[in-house]
Amino acid sequence: MILGIDTSLGTAVAVIEPDGVVVAAADSPNSLGHAEAIGGLLEQVLAPADAITHVAVGMGPGPFTGLRVGIAAARAFALGRGIPILPVPSHDAAALGLLLGDAVAGADDTAPFAVVTDARRREFAFSVFEGTDDDGVAVRIAGPLLAPRDELDDRLAALGAARRDVTAVPAAMVALAASRALAAGRTLATSEPLYLRSPDVTLPGAPKKVTA
């Protein structure tokens, strides 16, 4: 069984069978409060008898403070059980969820679309996808990138991608994307969080004068 964790938007956790069957899932949509939520949600989805073999974790993009809570919890959980961690771009998981939903609805699956999430500071984060590949993994053809809010639609038009705003990343999709990649012997992301921004700091200048 694979434990999935994502805190790129709200806090989401899930346990799935490798084939995608969801054993348990729980989430908190609160875009703050990840540190408060993560422990209780983990306890909620885990049963003592669960043989967790991997921890899949959403690496963002997403607001940094919350994003780190999920990655830290995932790494520590994996360390505690002595099992590997499978990093997944959070947009890839969201895209897989959208594509599976489309398939169920019988909608066209091949047109490019953009997963768009709030990146705060008047910016959006987006990634463009085009269907799934033979491994069942969403094919990312651009991103993740940042765009100012008022430029996003032009950027997406230029890429020919339909805009799909996402406000929650299902942890079961994080786990499923990781599971499918694992089965195909692939990795979807490195262990680096997808911050997309440098730490917001400026180098100090000379000390300010205190006298006129």
């Binding site: 409060g33 990840h34 540190a35 408060e36 993560i38 422990g39 209780g40 983990l42 306890e43 885990l46 003592p48 940094f64 403070t65 780190r68 809570v69 999920g70 990655i71 830290a72 919890a73 995932a74 790494r75 520590a76 959980f77 994996a78 360390l79 505690g80 059980r81 969080p193 911050y195 730490p199 917001d200 700091v201 180098l203 100090p204 000390p207 004068k209 205190v210 006298t211």
Partner: protein, 364 residues
């Protein structure tokens, strides 16, 4: 769980040190620290986002190193402990996320504790010093805090007597170091520059020490006025700033003003409360002049001073584990999993989110 001598792993990420400590009861098994200080040096102070990123990358290797040093396995742990505050919120949350992930993974109880009280608990691990006696006054001085506490019981009764109303003492050292053209961190640099200086050369102000301040701020500290006074003096006396001997006098006089006010207020607290014991903690305790003056004046006042080894004075995970071990030994129940980071956690909250009593200390 072994309540008398629990094996506890402590996680501390409240500022720029990623600290993992392992204790068995009052015995220190490991004190692993990964610091991001070098990354902050170019900014002249701790940058919260830089610190938080560094914590996330340092945690797992630090936990592994601590376990190896302590020669214990994760399965041996009786409990996990973590700092829930006070400190930098984004930095604290990395440690909290890791602590919760680890505790749930292992099925061990989790203790969320107060960083400042942890500094006092560090003293318990200093086994050469003999047991900590109560009550004691504690002076905690670092880059992040300057607090004067009255400790009647480490696990049950800690009172805040006073704290800084603006900069922490360590911050004042950093800022004055910049004025003097010295690198970050300022504490050791100022200490070095002050070595040959005359501490009485310039009468810099002692913050919140006038009779009119003493009513409302008897045990509070203020260092921002002192920092401004040093900057003003340096601007008015460029020839002193340009000269090694002059700079030494400014550094020594500044340091003396900080040390004087810290020691005076701490010993006032001892006298006012009839407590003949003073415990020092926090990274600024590394300052030789502070230790010297504290020991000298305390001896004259009949106050016994305790100073834990320096590696336990700076922020570390061992002190967090030690506090949790004391809480466990005193019968405290674990924390629930619902707590978050509290950047201004009051010192009276020694442990947060204590679960309702359940027999045997099992998690509910």
């Amino acid at each position: 769980m072994n309540r008398r001598e629990p094996l506890v792993l402590g996680i501390e990420t409240s500022c720029d040190e990623t600290g993992i400590g392992i204790v068995r009861g009052r015995t220190l098994l490991s004190n692993t620290i990964a610091s991001s200080m070098d990354e902050h040096a170019r900014y002249g102070g701790v940058v919260p986002e830089v610190a938080a990123r560094a914590h996330l990358e340092a945690l797992q290797p630090a936990i592994e190193a601590a376990l190896a040093e302590a020669q214990v396995g994760l399965d041996d742990l009786d409990a996990v402990a973590v700092t829930s505050g006070p400190g930098l919120a984004g930095a604290l949350m990395v440690g909290i996320g890791a602590a919760k992930g680890l505790a749930v993974s292992l099925g061990t109880p989790l203790y969320a504790v107060n960083h400042l009280v942890g500094h006092i608990a560090a003293d318990i691990l200093d086994q050469d010093a003999g047991p900590l006696e109560y009550p004691t006054v504690a002076l905690l001085v670092s880059g992040g805090h300057t607090s004067l506490l009255l400790v009647r019981d480490l696990t049950g009764d800690v009172e805040l007597l006073g704290e800084t109303v603006d900069d922490a003492a360590g911050e004042a050292f950093d800022k004055v170091a910049r004025v003097l053209g010295l690198p970050y961190p300022g504490g050791p640099e100022i200490d070095r520059a002050a070595a040959s200086g005359d501490p009485a050369a310039i009468p810099f102000p002692r913050g919140l020490s006038r009779a009119s301040d003493m009513a409302a701020h008897r045990y509070d500290f203020s260092f921002s006025g002192l920092k401004t006074a040093v900057a003003r003096f340096a601007e008015a006396n460029p020839e002193m700033l340009a000269d090694d001997a002059g700079r030494a006098d400014i550094a020594a006089s500044f340091r003396e003003a900080v040390v004087d006010v810290l020691v005076t207020k701490a010993l006032n607290a001892c006298r006012d409360h009839g407590v003949p014991r003073l415990l020092l903690g926090g990274g600024v305790i590394a300052n030789r002049r502070l230790r010297e003056v504290a020991l000298e004046r305390a001896a004259a006042a009949g106050v016994a001073v305790r100073i834990p080894p320096f590696s336990l004075c700076t922020d570390n995970g061992a002190m967090i584990a030690a506090l949790a071990a004391e809480l466990i030994a005193s019968g405290a129940e674990p924390s629930t999993l619902a707590f978050g980071a509290d950047s201004t956690l009051p010192v009276t909250e020694i442990q947060v989110a204590v679960s309702e009593g359940s027999p045997g200390g099992a998690r509910s």
